[in-house]
C-alpha cells in the first residue's frame, strides 16, 4: 500500500516535469491563443453587452444590443441574404465539386493537366476574381449573356437587378470549387478498389456503384466539407463587397448584397457601433453553431466511417 502510494508520487513527479516541459514547448501557441483568441473572444462578449464606440469607455447596456437586434429590419435582411447564399450556394457547389472530382479521378490521358487547370482559379484572389466575373456578367457585353443570347435566351441584368445579384455570386462560386474538388479527389482515391471489383462481378451499374460504394465511402469528407462551407458561407464578405461597390453602394441594389458580415462591418466601422457589432458577431456564432449541431446530429444517419461495421 505504502509502496504503491510512493510509486504514484514518483510518477506524478515525472508527469509534472513532463507536463511543464510540454507546456513550455507549446507556450508560444498557448500565449498566442490566450492573447489573440481567447481574450478577443471574451472581450467581444463583454462589448456585446455595452455601448462602445472604440474611443470612449464602454457603457454597460446589458442585453439591449441583443433585443435591438431582433427589432432591426436589416438584421433579418442580412441574415436572409446570408442564408440564401448558404442554402442556394453550398449544396450545388459541393455537388459540382464532387462531379468534377469524379471526372478528374477517371483514367484519362493528361489528367494531371486537367486537374491543374481546374484548380487554378482557386489561386486567384477573391477581389480579382470578383472583378473578372463582373466583366463576364455584364448584361450588355458580358460573355455569359452573349452566350445565352446565342442559344436564344435574353440574359438577366445580373449585377443590377436585385433578384439576380445573389444568383450571380452563386454562379461565380462554382469557379472557386477547386479546393473542395481536390479534397474530394483525395477521398475518392482512398475508396478500396476491391469494392468496385466485387460490384463489377455482381454486375452492378456505375450509378449503383456510385450510390452504394462511392458516396457512403466519402461521406466523412462530405460532412467535413459541409461544415467548413457552412462556416465560410455565413462569413461571406469579400465577393459581396466587391459586387456591391460596383453599384456604388454598401449593400448593392436594394441591399440585396447586404450579407451579415457586411452589415456587421458597416455597424462597426461606418457607424462606430462596436457593441452592437459584437452582439451581431455572437448571434452569428450561435446561428452557425446551431446549423453545425443539426448537421452533426443528422450525420449519424448518412456518414459512414471506415471502422464502422
Amino acid at each position: 500500500m505504502t509502496e504503491q502510494h510512493n510509486n504514484t508520487i514518483g510518477i506524478r513527479k515525472r508527469e509534472r516535469k513532463l507536463l511543464i516541459t510540454g507546456l513550455l514547448f507549446t507556450s508560444p501557441w498557448i500565449i498566442g491563443f490566450l492573447v489573440f483568441q481567447l481574450y478577443p473572444i471574451l472581450a467581444s462578449f463583454y462589448y456585446s453587452m455595452t455601448d462602445y464606440n472604440l474611443f470612449s469607455a464602454p457603457t454597460w447596456v446589458g442585453l439591449d444590443n441583443y433585443t435591438n437586434l431582433f427589432k432591426d429590419d436589416k438584421f433579418y435582411l442580412s441574415m436572409y441574404n446570408t442564408l440564401y447564399m448558404t442554402i442556394v450556394g453550398v449544396v450545388p457547389h459541393m455537388a459540382f465539386a464532387l462531379i468534377m472530382a469524379l471526372l478528374l479521378n477517371a483514367k484519362v490521358k493528361g489528367q494531371s493537366i486537367y486537374r491543374t487547370i481546374y484548380f487554378l482559379p482557386t489561386l486567384v484572389p477573391a477581389v480579382a476574381g470578383s472583378l473578372l466575373w463582373m466583366w463576364l456578367l455584364n448584361s450588355q457585353y458580358g460573355f455569359i449573356n452573349l452566350a445565352l443570347e446565342y442559344v436564344g435566351i435574353a440574359g438577366p441584368n445580373w449585377l443590377i437587378d436585385p433578384d439576380w445579384t445573389k444568383p450571380s455570386l452563386v454562379l461565380m462560386g462554382f469557379w472557386g470549387t477547386g479546393t473542395i474538388t481536390v479534397m474530394y479527389l483525395a477521398a475518392l482515391q482512398d475508396v478500396p478498389k476491391m469494392y468496385y471489383e466485387a460490384a463489377d462481378i455482381d454486375g452492378a451499374s456505375k450509378w449503383r456503384q456510385f450510390w452504394t460504394i462511392t458516396f457512403p465511402s466519402i461521406s466523412p469528407m462530405t460532412l467535413f466539407q459541409l461544415i467548413m462551407m457552412l462556416i465560410a458561407s455565413f462569413q461571406y464578405f469579400t465577393e459581396g463587397m466587391v459586387f456591391a461597390e460596383a453599384t456604388q453602394s454598401t449593400g448593392g441594389p436594394e441591399n440585396s448584397l447586404l450579407f451579415y458580415s457586411i452589415y456587421l462591418y458597416q455597424q462597426a466601422f461606418s457607424f462606430l457601433n462596436m457593441g452592437y457589432a459584437s452582439a451581431m458577431a455572437w448571434m452569428l456564432f450561435v446561428v452557425v453553431m446551431f446549423f453545425a449541431l443539426v448537421i452533426f446530429k443528422t450525420s449519424a444517419k448518412w456518414v459512414y466511417y471506415g471502422g464502422d461495421k
Partner: protein, 445 residues
C-alpha cells in the same frame, strides 16, 4: 560549424535589430522631452526638430500634388519635419486613431469627422483657432460648415470637392440641334428626352441624363431644391421636407420617362467612368453631374466636353448656382503626440499660398474665399478651372450637416431614395421612413 555560424549570425542580427528599435524609441522620447522643454525656452535658442506624421487617402497615382506640398513645407522651416503616408483609407485611419499610435495629422473625407469627433477621437480646434488668430471667416462657408460638429470646428477643409456643374457631350448636343446647355431643371428633362435614342428593337442606344449616375446622390439633389436635413430650432431631422421630396420626385420622373429596366440595362453596359470609355466621352450619356476634377483635359475650349452651371428649378430662380460641397478634411487626432506642430502644419495647408499652389497642381478648388480671384490661378494654362472658382463663390452652396449619426443618416437616405427611384415607395413615403428611422438615433446621440 556552418550551423553554429548561422546561429551566431541570427543572434547578432537580432541584437542589432532590437538595439536599433530601442534606440529609435529612445530618440523619440528625447524629441518629446526636447519639445516640451522648448515651449518654455527663449526663442533665440535653436529648437530641436520635431517629426510629425501625416496620413492621407490619395493613392500613389494622385499623390503628386500633396507630396509636393509636404516637401515645400519641410523646406519652408527647420523645426518640423512632416513624414507622409498615403493610401490610408478610412478603416485604416480609424484603426490608427483608436489605437495607441495615432498619426499627428490626417486627411480624410469630411463625413468621417462627425462620428470620430463625437467619439472623442478628434481634437477640438476651438482653442487653436482662438490662440493663433486663425480667421475661419476667410474660408468658404459651405466648406467650413462641414467641419462643424456640435457647434465646434474639428477639422479644416483642405479642398472643396464641389458638385454644381453640368458636364455635357458637345457632339451629342450638336447632333440633336441643341445650341446651349439647359438652364432650368425642366429644360434638363426636355433635353434629356431629345438626347435619348433608341435602336430598332426599342432599346436605349444613347441616353440624355441619368439622375442617379454615377451613384444615388442623396445630398446633391435636395441642395438643388433648397432642401435641408436638420432643423436646429426643433432638434428634428427633416429628410421629408418638401424640397427634399420634390428633388426625389424629379429624379423619379426620368425613370418614368425612360423605363426602369431600360435605364438599368443601358447603365450596366456603359463604359467605366474616368477611362477612355467614359460614357460621357463616348457619347453614350449626353449629360452628367460634374465635379471640378472631372475631364480636366477634355473640357478645354476645343475639347469634347462642355461645362455649365447646373440647372435650377424654373420656379425658384433664387436657387441659381446651387451645389453640393463635400470637402476633404484635415484633422488632428486627440491622441496625436505633437498636436502643436500638427496645428502649425495644418495652418500651412490652409494658407493662401498653399491653397493656390495646390489648386494649380491638384486641379481642385481652393477653400479660401479671397484666393478664388488670385491672379496666379487666373492664368491661361489653368483656364478649365476658372468657371469652377467662379461657382465656388455662390451663396447657394450647401452640404450635409456633420454629426455623430451621419453614417446611419446618409445610408438610410440612400436606401429609401433607391426605393423611391424604383417606384416601390412614393418620394414622400420614402423620406418619411428616413425620418422615422433616424429621429430616434438623433435623439439618443
Amino acid at each position: 560549424m556552418s550551423m553554429f555560424r548561422k546561429k551566431t549570425l541570427t543572434l547578432v542580427s537580432s541584437v542589432v535589430l532590437i538595439g536599433s528599435l530601442l534606440a529609435g524609441c529612445g530618440s523619440n522620447a528625447n524629441n518629446e522631452n526636447n519639445t516640451a522643454g522648448n515651449a518654455t525656452n527663449t526663442p533665440e535658442k535653436p529648437k530641436e526638430k520635431v517629426e510629425i506624421s501625416f496620413w492621407h487617402t490619395y493613392t500613389d497615382a494622385d499623390a503628386g500634388p500633396i507630396t509636393t506640398t509636404v516637401e515645400n513645407f519641410n523646406k519652408s522651416q527647420d523645426r518640423i519635419t512632416v513624414k507622409m503616408l498615403g493610401n490610408q483609407d478610412p478603416t485604416k485611419q480609424l484603426t490608427a486613431i483608436s489605437g495607441g499610435a495615432a498619426p499627428d495629422v490626417l486627411l480624410t473625407y469630411w463625413n468621417n469627422i462627425g462620428p470620430w469627433a463625437d467619439a472623442g477621437a478628434v481634437l477640438d480646434l476651438t482653442e487653436n483657432i482662438a490662440s493663433s488668430g486663425f480667421d475661419v471667416n476667410t474660408i468658404i462657408p459651405a466648406a467650413m460648415d462641414r467641419m462643424k460638429v456640435n457647434d465646434s470646428y474639428y477639422a479644416m477643409p483642405f479642398t472643396m470637392s464641389m458638385a454644381s456643374s453640368l458636364m455635357y457631350n458637345k457632339a451629342a448636343f450638336a447632333e440633336a440641334g441643341i445650341t446651349a446647355p439647359p438652364e432650368t431643371l425642366e429644360q434638363l428633362f426636355d433635353y434629356a428626352k431629345q438626347l435619348t435614342k433608341k435602336d430598332a428593337s426599342g432599346s436605349i442606344s444613347q441616353i440624355g441624363f441619368i439622375p442617379d449616375y454615377p451613384w444615388i446622390d442623396n445630398v446633391f439633389w435636395p441642395v438643388l431644391y433648397g432642401g435641408s436635413w436638420y432643423d436646429e430650432a426643433t432638434g428634428k431631422v427633416t429628410p421629408n421636407a418638401e424640397a427634399n421630396v420634390q428633388s426625389i420626385a424629379y429624379q423619379r420622373s426620368f425613370y418614368e420617362e425612360f423605363g426602369q429596366s431600360q435605364i438599368d440595362k443601358f447603365k450596366s453596359g456603359m463604359g467605366k467612368r474616368g477611362t477612355a470609355q467614359d460614357p460621357l466621352l463616348t457619347g453614350q450619356l449626353a449629360m452628367y453631374v460634374g465635379w471640378e476634377y472631372n475631364f480636366m483635359p477634355e473640357r478645354g475650349e476645343d475639347g469634347p466636353i462642355g461645362v455649365a452651371p447646373f440647372p435650377y428649378p424654373a420656379d425658384q430662380p433664387e436657387l441659381k448656382g446651387s451645389g453640393m460641397v463635400s470637402p476633404r478634411a484635415v484633422f488632428i487626432p486627440t491622441k496625436a503626440k505633437h498636436p502643436e506642430e500638427a496645428w502649425e502644419f495644418m495652418q500651412y495647408l490652409m494658407s493662401a499660398d498653399t491653397q493656390v499652389q495646390y489648386s494649380l497642381d491638384g486641379h481642385v478648388i481652393p477653400t479660401i474665399t479671397s484666393v478664388l480671384d488670385d491672379s496666379r490661378l487666373l492664368v491661361e494654362e489653368n483656364k478649365t478651372m476658372w468657371s469652377f472658382y467662379e461657382r465656388a463663390k455662390s451663396e447657394n452652396l450647401n452640404g450635409f450637416p456633420n454629426s455623430s449619426y451621419i453614417g446611419e443618416y446618409l445610408q438610410s437616405l440612400s436606401e429609401e431614395t433607391e426605393k423611391a427611384l424604383k417606384g416601390t415607395l412614393t418620394p414622400q413615403a420614402a423620406m418619411d421612413a428616413v425620418a422615422a428611422k433616424i429621429q430616434p438615433i438623433a435623439d439618443k446621440k
